[in-house]
Amino acid sequence: MAPPAQSQRSPSPSQPSGKSEVSDLKLQLRQLAGSRAPGVDDSKRELFKKVISYMTIGIDVSSLFGEMVMCSATSDIVLKKMCYLYVGNYAKVNPDLALLTINFLQRDCRDEDPMIRGLALRSLCSLRVANLVEYLVGPLGSGLKDSNSYVRMVAVMGVLKLYHISASTCIDADFPSILKHLMLHDSDTQVVANCLSALQEIWSAEASTSEEASREREALISKPFIYYLLNRIKEFCEWAQCLVLELVTKYVPSDSSEIFDIMNLLEDRLQHANGAVVLATIRVFLQLTLSMTDVHQQVYERIKAPLLTLVSSGSPEQSYAVLSHLHLLVMRAPYVFSSDYKHFYCQYNEPSYVKRLKLEMLTAVANESNTYEIVTELCEYAANVDIPIARESIRAVGKIALQQYDVNAIVDRLLQFLEMEKDYVTAEALVLVKDLLRKYPQWSHDCIAVVGNISSKNVQEPKAKAALIWMLGEYSQDMQDAPYVLESLVENWDEEHSAEVRLHLLTAMMKCFFKRPPETQSALGAALAAGIADFHQDVHDRALFYYRILRYNVSVAERVVNPPKQAVSVFADTQSSEIKDRIFDEFNSLSVLYQKPSYMFTDKEHRGPLEFADELGNLSIGEAANNVVPTQMVEENDKDLLLTTSEKEETKGSRNNGSAYSVPYDGSSTSVFASQTQIESAVSNPTLAGHSPQASFAIDDLLGLGIPAAPAVLSPPQLKLNTKAALDPSTFQQKWRQLPVALSQEISVSPQGVAALTAPQALLRHMQSHSIHCIASGGQSPNFKFFFFAQKFEESSNYLVECVINTSSAKAQVKIKADDQNTSQDFSTLFESALSKFGTS
């Protein structure tokens, strides 16, 4: 305690602001502390208010701790509350002083007013000072037995807080079993709900070390307990209902009649006023019926109306969250929502992130019957004041056109866009017309007539300019002045800042040359000369390549640069279906809002290689990836155009694009090399993927140099395993019980491995290729558990492994048991090396 003199000293300039006020308060508090005069509570209250408001502004008032505690001997509940608040805030930094408060808090825990008992207990547990836990056990124990449900409710949460401060104290006091008893027998549903949430947390945390806890955790999703909760669900408060519903999603019913019983019981929850309850119920319905295709469809029909109501009735924030979920469902089953397309019409003053979701949904639900109306509506947005949305809606029109419904009307609309004389509309429309022509070459006459009228001077955006140039090159025979337009573009070569445009210009000149040589020849020469002199590596390389191949043989050049094309049938999807499934499994979670499964964003460690993980996720989907040979290459400029359709950076999935435009490998290798786009890349030598940056391995790969990877993989030791080992489960169990743990260690899993571990099966296949076989596996992200076994080559010596992988921490806990203890170390190295390769092969 500071001497009083200090408070009278004037603050020096270096002292933080509020210092003099704080010392002033200190003095006043001290005067009041012992006073029993009438009205003293009111003056205390004013002072406390000041202290708390300083605390709220961020001024450090921890120096008043002693005085505050001294003043807290009062019967005024508001004073008490303010004091609890203060103590809770500063106890952690003042553990010694916190001891002072224990006394009065413990006394309050025995107060006759249940409200004070509860509040004191809550504050006591919120002190979170590790060396004070011994004082918590007593009050908590009596709190759990309190006659008032309010106190019990607080005490249950207190147990959880105690667990987080000191797990051992909590377990030693046997609180979990008291909570379990309360959970099953308490009359107050809020107490039950709090027990449930506390026990879920405690047992999940304990499960890795204690068999009993993991058994208890399993028991939470057992039939009798789930039914016990479901039958009382209406008595729970809305938030507790969410908790119960979340638990129910983990329950696996034994047969379909049980599924129907649960759904019937929960049907009215869909009409609950709280959106969180509605979404939790929907999740239960969707999860339960996953395996029953026709019922699953009916569920979609049933949940449609509640979801649409939630979107239109709640606050903007709520409707956004619901809309994100609706978006997910619409993308999964667009046909169910095709008659509700009007709900996805954008309102003028909705924020643009909502409009964007709606545009995607409108695109998805378009079918034969509603395309005309949807496109009409989308055209309205093209004149929107919000330019990004106007652009998106034009793109949406294009996407619908590519879905093949009523193309005739859409092409007319797109051509109208070109005549709107707004630069961004023209730009977007040009890109779309180009895509459209690649899919429906039969429309070329109508389109070319309009495109021919567009002056290249009015088109500034690189993507649009590239599209225009592509069309000029591709259809130069139909466009009267194509060579001259291109020529004027070549003349302005130096003013063209985008390398993409210059690349396209080179290719277009070549194509034009093959069709109309006399008119183009001089301009082509100028273009090649300018290209070779270009400072941009890709442009330079391509110009040189064209030049050389032309000198070698013009007809070969034509076959390489401008081969006959087939129409593109399907443009690549931007997000793999596996990822969509993962997001769907995480319905009613943040994943849906980010449109990424949680493993991609929840773990900080994966932030960096996020894109990477994405790509690997795609590659691991099927063996097919390994069979794609590098000769299946796309002519570079076509690929570029494909990329523009998706706009997004997600080029990873576009491996499929290759099929439509395949040209001989040797012809395009240089141009692919030049472009530095890394599409096919990863597939032929995937081991590299995990270790070298994308761009460089793409090139290594395409050149077929086969530069060996330098992966940091441990060299496998001399232990040989039997590739065809066999062990039946009962023998495994028996051995597992008998043998001691030979080795227990923690192995880190590479981020790629984590990304590939979307389901246990992926790892099983991988380990099997290393002669390590799985006997049982299970779990859900982030925790997977595996039992593996292996046999020594030509010996019947077994190795048994228990492996628990946590994908969010990227760690695997491994326990190894072996018949032959001497080789267990060798085996462990082998196992670790096999596991470390997971995801990279």
Binding site: M157, C237, A276, A321, Q347, Y348, S589, L590
Partner: protein
């Protein structure tokens, strides 16, 4: 599980901080958040859920106050958002509105409320009725009382009965000399009308609001004359599901005071009460505007508070707009607002004038969307009608009252 709640003022100042779990969330997250908000600009509001480098943030903005919640674990987004919405509702209910001053003046009450509403990151009691019994609202009456009686505590001495009762939304048996129950139908009409006058979309979102002051445990039944027109409904927890499912009858034991009994949606309405005919013709750098507003379908009651608002396109240099009825204002942010009030008997209100375009522009390419506001007392435009309200074991003196009101929701006319 929410870890922390912050209340921020409209200048980004932290007015209140409530830590909920052992993992303290540092205040610096608010600085990050505020920088993020500013970087988004004000034309696009930032998303309700944001991922910061360390936390996931939920934000709800009400009356300039940002309610910010932080979490580091996966949770159901609706729980975070709904909870923040409830907090803002309860606070504005308690403090009689929300603004910076009222929160700063009553921060102790706000702390007390948050303490009861959420524990260890998990929402508990969010029913205003019950909270009011635990923590007295800071109204003038209680201030006067405290002066008179000298009892300065603003907390009732007893615990709310409802924490132990099996009807969580209702406090134990209140007593009233006058038993009253009022039912309001409040509807909002959302519509989109194209430039050719075609109705693109028209639906009604409605709420049944009840204000009940009834003694004891009243058991009410409310029925509609035409429940079949309802497309989708959502209920307050007090509504029993079975009677609705079998007979479309609302059977419930109401909370005490005001509450929202149900909300509903009726889609595919065929007509709107008003028409709005905008005409824009542009020529040689000028655009002539003419907008007519009139009654299309007489609802039988007066339509009042008619307003029309639109954003002038950014390419407009100046606007000269006048009306033959009501007042026209062009606000600073290029929003033109026309207050009409009621439609006069003798003429059709019209707005006309010219817009001067930017120098290079010949014609206008971006057409404004007109947002229309109106209010009709005494009519529910969807046609929903209350048939009757019955009270099992009616008390001797019971007053029942019914009202209806329709107003424009998102009512848009394109040009």
């Amino acid at each position: 599980m929410l870890q922390c709640i912050f209340l921020l003022s409209d200048s980004g100042e932290v007015m209140l901080e409530k830590q909920l779990t052992g993992h303290r969330v540092d205040r610096s997250i608010c600085d990050w958040f505020w920088d993020h908000v500013i970087s988004q600009g004000d034309s696009f509001k930032s998303q309700p859920v944001i991922a910061s480098p360390t936390h996931y943030l939920f934000q709800v903005v009400r009356e300039g106050i940002t309610f910010l919640a932080c979490t580091q674990v996966e949770m159901t987004p609706l729980m975070g958002i709904e909870f923040l919405c409830r907090v803002s509702d309860v606070l504005s209910d308690y403090l009689g509105g929300l603004n910076e001053d009222v929160i700063k003046d009553n921060f102790v009450i706000v702390y007390e409320l948050l303490d009861e509403m959420i524990d260890n990151g998990f929402p508990l009691t969010t029913e205003a009725n019950i909270l009011r019994e635990m923590i007295a609202p800071p109204n003038i009456v209680s201030k006067v009382l405290s002066v008179v009686t000298g009892n300065s505590s603003n907390v009732s001495d007893t615990l709310p009965g409802a924490t132990g009762s099996c009807i969580p939304w209702r406090a134990a048996e209140p007593k009233y000399a006058n038993n009253e129950v009022y039912v309001d139908l409040v509807e909002e009409m959302d519509a989109v009308i194209n430039r050719d006058g075609a109705l693109v979309k028209c639906e009604v979102y409605g709420e049944v609001r009840v204000n009940s002051h009834l003694s004891g445990l009243p058991d009410l039944t409310l029925s509609f004359a035409n429940p079949s027109i309802l497309d989708d409904v959502r209920f307050h927890p007090c509504v029993r599901f079975r009677p609705w499912e079998s007979h479309q009858v609302l059977s419930f034991v109401p909370p005490d005071g005001e509450f929202k009994l149900m909300s509903y949606r009726i889609k595919k309405l065929k007509s709107t009460p008003l028409y709005v005919k905008p005409q824009l013709t542009s020529d040689a750098g000028k655009c002539r505007v003419n907008v007519l507003v009139g009654i299309r379908n007489d609802p039988g009651k007066t339509i009042d508070s008619i307003t029309l608002e639109f954003q002038l396109p950014p390419c407009i240099l100046s606007a000269d707009l006048n009306s033959n009825h009501g007042t026209v204002n062009i606000l600073g942010n290029k929003i033109c607002s026309w207050t009409i009030g009621r439609i006069p008997k003798d003429k059709t209100p019209s707005l006309s004038g010219t817009l001067l375009l930017e120098t290079e522009l010949e014609r206008l390419h971006v057409f404004p969307t007109f947002r229309v506001g109106f209010r009709i007392m005494g009519v529910a435009l969807s046609g929903l009608q209350i048939d009757k309200l019955d009270l099992k074991t009616a008390p001797s003196r019971l007053y029942k009252g019914f009202r209806a009101l329709t107003r424009a929701g998102e009512f848009e006319v394109r040009s």
